[in-house]
Symmetry: C2
Subunit: 358 residues, 2 copies
Amino acid sequence: MATIYDVAKAAGVSPKTVSRVMNGDAPVNQATREAVQQAMAALNYVPSSAARTMRSQRSGLIGMITGAISSTHHFEDAGLPEIYLVQGAQRVIDQSNRTLLIADSGGQAERIPTLLQTFQEHRVEGILYVAEYHREVSLPAALRDRPIVLVNCFDAEDTPSVLPDDEGAQYALVDGLIRRGHHRIGYLTLPEHYVACDLRVAGYRRAHRDNGIAVDDGLVQVGALPSSTHEFDLLWDALDRILKAEPTVICCANDKMAMRVYGLLRERGFAIPQQMSVAGYDDYRMIAEHLHPGLTSAELPYAAMGARAADKLLRLMSGTTKPNEPSRELVSAPVAWRESVQTRDANVTQLNSRRKET
Amino acid sequence: MATIYDVAKAAGVSPKTVSRVMNGDAPVNQATREAVQQAMAALNYVPSSAARTMRSQRSGLIGMITGAISSTHHFEDAGLPEIYLVQGAQRVIDQSNRTLLIADSGGQAERIPTLLQTFQEHRVEGILYVAEYHREVSLPAALRDRPIVLVNCFDAEDTPSVLPDDEGAQYALVDGLIRRGHHRIGYLTLPEHYVACDLRVAGYRRAHRDNGIAVDDGLVQVGALPSSTHEFDLLWDALDRILKAEPTVICCANDKMAMRVYGLLRERGFAIPQQMSVAGYDDYRMIAEHLHPGLTSAELPYAAMGARAADKLLRLMSGTTKPNEPSRELVSAPVAWRESVQTRDANVTQLNSRRKET
DNA sequence: CGATGTCATGACATCGGTGTCATAGAACAC
DNA sequence: GTGTTCTATGACACCGATGTCATGACATCG
């Protein structure tokens, strides 16, 4: 492998001049520059990041640790869309001429020390700490010694973090439903006391309040248990209770639940969306776009969160925080409206026309 | 940050001895070893991989390049389960005391040169080249200079690769259906001339042949277009044609398609699985486990492929290839049988009992 | 008892870049 | 014309490990 010395010799200059051509940190004569560049090309020269890191004490690496937190597998495949987080973060980080080093613990908490050791050996300059679902965490002490941004989680010390705007997104979804003529809106929630559950229910209620509609508590039911074993029975019963409250639309805690609700509603003879509208949460395209009819869903904006977190971390590392930058940032996304939600006027019309037909 | 010199001074030995304690490459007196270890702990010493790499000329890094190939987004979210590939590969690579460096192009082909440059600067010792779907590729010349294993793809030069056993998996699925009493098996395929399509159709046919059943060509219809724009109409028509051939079960090219077929069948009044069984492909848990009823599906074993590929690459790098190791390895996985497939005896019984009731 | 071998350790050079400082020549100011 | 600044370049040390070789203290052997 060619070194900077080989290039220097071939171009007839000193190694330091070659270095200057690469880094542009001091003026270099045009002719010299070209000679050096030719030599680099001819020799297929690629600088060694190891040597560079060693001398400059800057690795140019940013570590991302994912799947790190859930030792128990409550939400067994919640981690799947993390790839979008990775993509979002990587795009921003590449632009800053740094490299993202990813450590995925695969949910095995005992592997975290090893992964952190690797990060330290590589002298990562900053860390993105990713949780599988919106929650509070407490950071291992080993992580506190360098810039860090929490993603999808927050801690008691107010460490900088990037979070999904659960309250706002559920508000936007429910507000949109109301504008589409729905006044009795069922809601199958996540298990209680999950951060995302509390926030979204708050958004659900605020949307009702702002529109002057009272919430019928019978319309809000827990649709999932933390342990997913008996999830199905629970959903069946919860749906039963909600249907007694006579909703025109059912909001589900996530797209997976909505997928189940499609099946359950149809078993009971409901046509979707003619006789019952359905909405999800997460906007997992794999589900929402391919369900029939297409599922209306509030997006969980993973790519944007990854990008925002990377951006925040880079600013933290360079010390250029924005004025008034909050330690916790919320990322919003628009609701994806698809065919699973019918506007009530059309709905009423269609029901009427059906009655005529019968 | 503490260096090996600091540790040496604190322990009253030479740096080289500290190095020996870390690497165990020469005998060290027990007492000395303990003194060094204490000093390392006290100083919070973490070796610098940059320095180590530079001196030893071994980076200990393996590069994985994903999302690299599809510049067009035919299968827009096919890349999602790649996280399983990453996990599978990372588990194996960690065990060999190496580190996985991941570059995700996010489907933007123009970013690949940059990513490769990064790999070269970090002196990765081997590369895992991941395609988004089973296909033939031709490798950029820049990649040929170091050990490489193709994952989910293969090339004309017979570069070592790890592939899903599409033929075998579809065979196992269809064979299982036949054993469950289904003799008229509909199949909504992938677009024609895709590698996975041809192989799976071959598996479908072989299963029929081995069981002495003739294939009715009306039962096999293309269910998806390469460009997904008109996918839906196509599926509607394809399903129509298949239903005319009176199947008792419909195999879908993937779980997303199966999800659509659930909706389409129910619109036509079919109960699943009582009046029509359905099977998918991929076994995306997010879909298959949460559809109602649960979807029977042939697994696309991403985690196992990642692990196998990493293993193959490590052997390639160390020169310890197994005797008779084929350049292309197929990875198999069992079919996940769930409620969407009903065994035909039960089916007949149930239909009879219904008739009695009516 | 001298030769040989093994164990435990250290001195020193080296990997490939970059930071610091020095310097030669050209341009500019007074 | 002399002093000052700027441009362009090179010499040299150094970042933190490890490979090579040397060495002293013992143990073993014939």
